[in-house]
């Protein structure tokens, strides 16, 4: 019996989030031959994204494009999504483990009386069913979980699955009317704090600073390096507490959990709370004046030295390398 997989897309700053393409791959890893993949895109003014998403190997794409979906509201969004689910009757629902996905997934799971597996980083088939791996205890262990219900719900951690690319498959686009807006809660205002360049959780390269950066000035050096790499700047709690940067940049147990390709820790000692947010990064580079700093215990490459000297040198070397290939 063929199954139907529903992939919930979201946009950020007018673009499809990277994790949407990764969720397509995650759904494909869970699916078998002949299974259907259906997308759903909720938002306001998302016509460009409809075209992009429709090219990514979906059988159908449901779209609800309405001003009431401009900012996230739990009632409005879950009602919109449930309306799609009602029509599609999926066997599994995939979302990104983002601010929206983290809220929307348990809401619809509870509505559907469905099991949910959150923050998945790997999927394998065993005994004819998908087995989902996810970090627990701040990445100090992993558990393998299976779903017992139909449908079931999965949220996937950004940066852990390959992004699906465009295909030649044709995709039927289905437009639905917007849901009634919520009367119970509404967003009065949005204060933009996060840097709009690259989202930390989706960044392939992160340059991160701790107390050793010594001030907002020092963070500018890290920004230059991140810009050359097309990455984002993060920080330890110590740097945020000291007022060097905004809490929106904090990586750690409290703060964001990231798994970039490359994590460059500058002047970060490596307290366990910080490691909880980044220790599963693919390649970790530590730059610290103290050779005994615990960060070196999780790092793959280490440089003992003053970040104020090392970071500009690295920026220059990366610039040279990237210029030579373009």
């Amino acid at each position: 019996m063929n199954q139907t997989f529903l992939i919930v897309a979201e946009t950020r700053e007018g673009r499809l989030r990277q994790v949407v393409y990764e969720a397509l791959t995650a759904a494909a890893l869970s699916a078998g031959e002949g299974d259907r993949k259906i997308g759903v895109l909720l938002g306001s003014g998302v016509e460009m994204q409809v075209i992009e998403l429709a090219a990514c190997g979906l059988d159908q794409l449901y779209v609800i494009d309405d001003p009431s979906l401009h900012t996230y509201n739990p009632d409005t969004w879950s009602n919109a999504l449930l309306a799609v689910i009602e029509q599609v009757k999926p066997d599994a629902i995939f979302l990104g483990h983002t601010a929206i996905g983290r809220d929307l997934a348990p809401l619809i799971s509870a509505s559907l009386n469905a099991g949910q597996i959150s923050d998945v980083t790997d999927i394998r088939q065993a005994d004819g069913r998908p087995v989902f791996t996810r970090p627990i205890y701040a990445g100090k262990a992993f558990e393998q979980r299976v779903a017992n219900t139909r449908p079931y719900v999965v949220t996937i951690r950004p940066n852990n699955f390959q992004a699906a690319g465009p295909t030649n498959q044709s995709c039927e686009i289905v437009r639905l009317a917007p849901p009634a807006p919520s009367l119970r809660s509404f967003v009065k205002d949005v204060l933009k704090k996060a840097s709009s360049k690259v989202d930390l959780t989706e960044a392939k390269y992160i340059v991160s600073g701790g107390r050793g950066v010594r001030g907002a000035e020092g963070f500018r050096l890290l920004e230059e390096l991140a810009d050359v790499l097309g990455g984002a700047v993060g920080a330890s709690r110590g740097a945020c507490d000291a007022g060097y940067c905004d809490y929106s940049m904090q990586i750690g147990q409290t703060g964001k959990v990231v798994t970039p390709e490359v994590y460059i820790a500058c002047g970060i000692s490596g307290a366990i709370q910080h490691l909880a947010g980044m220790s599963n990064s693919r390649v970790i580079i530590a730059i610290n004046t103290d050779p005994e700093a615990p960060i070196f215990r999780v790092a793959h490459y280490g440089i003992v030295g003053d970040l104020f000297q090392v970071v500009p040198l690295l920026t220059e070397e990366f610039r040279k390398l990237l210029a030579s290939q373009s």
Binding site: T71, P74, D75, A99, I100, D103, P106, L107, S109, A114, G115, Q116, S118, D119, V131, I136, Y137, A138, K140, A141, F142, E143, R145, V146, N148, T149, Y152, R184, S185, F186, V187, K188, V190, L191, K193, L200, T201, L229, Y247, S248, M249, Q253, T254, V262, A276, N280, R282, V283, F296, R297, H300, Y301, G302, I303, G305, Q309, V310, L313, L314, E317
Partner: protein
């Protein structure tokens, strides 16, 4: 103001994870209140002190969870309830149905919980509970004030701040930054010994076997692969920078 706080007891952040017979060992482990739930307890106490009323902390878990509840009482909560969970599967769908069964028997203005627990990191139970109780909710709040039967909260949306107005009764989950949780005072600890800590069984809640069905099951646990020793780069700083970039290109192949 009648406030319920959802509380989970978790491993202390500093604990190492040891597997014994394929299961995470609890031997010699120090347990604490889940740090995000601590923000919720603190917020509840502050609101009670401002508006009057009662704070009840409720946990689903094994007997040892009563220590965490006692700590919350020592911080200033008024009453505690432990729903003993031996037969409750470690699954968020089941746990949220247990909590819903209990809370349907209570009257409340507010339910507070943590954004997620630092052991399972699923972040489902509180939001599921809001749905099961048909309450509006906002997750990951970093600020809160109450006026005229509504809450004005600040929601952390990946760094951006949303100011959200919510009609009460409602449920909120606490994000770091909401407050600085207090340490229990000696006097608080003494008082806590006399505060009510009730234990409920699943039969007390009249739960059916169906309500306790797990939506998902763990089939195994593994530890992260052993890390290779860090490769320290040596020499002049300028050479080190050049070597590192080459290693990232040709050895790690990440740029």
């Amino acid at each position: 103001m009648n406030i319920f706080v959802l509380l989970k007891q978790t491993f202390d952040t500093e604990e190492r994870i040891v597997l014994r017979d394929g299961v995470i060992s609890e031997d010699g482990v120090k347990f604490v209140i889940n740090p995000y739930d601590e923000f919720a307890v603190e917020q509840a106490i502050q609101l009670r002190d401002e508006f009057g009323g009662k704070v009840t902390v409720v946990s689903v878990g094994p007997d040892r969870a009563s220590e965490a509840l006692r700590t919350a009482l020592a911080m200033g909560a008024d009453e505690a309830v432990l729903i003993r969970g031996e037969r409750i599967p470690a699954d968020e769908a089941a746990v949220s149905r247990v909590l819903a069964a209990y809370l349907r028997q209570q009257s409340f203005d507010l339910i507070l919980g943590g954004y997620f627990s630092i052991d399972q990191v699923a972040g489902q139970v509180a939001v599921r509970l809001a749905k099961l109780l048909d309450l509006p909710h906002t997750s990951a709040i970093t600020g809160m004030k109450l006026e005229d039967g509504r809450a004005i909260v600040t929601r952390d949306a990946e760094g951006d701040q949303e100011i959200v107005e919510v009609a009460l009764p409602a449920l909120f989950t606490a994000q770091q930054g909401l407050n600085e949780p207090r340490y229990p005072s000696l006097q608080g600890i003494m008082k806590a010994k006399k505060k009510p800590l009730a234990t409920l069984s699943l039969d007390d809640l009249g739960l059916t076997a169906e309500a306790l069905e797990a939506g998902t099951s763990r089939i195994s646990v593994s530890l992260p692969p052993e890390r290779a020793e860090v490769r320290m780069i040596k020499g002049e700083l300028r050479d080190q920078a050049a070597e590192l970039v080459q290693l990232l290109r040709h050895e790690a192949k990440v740029i």
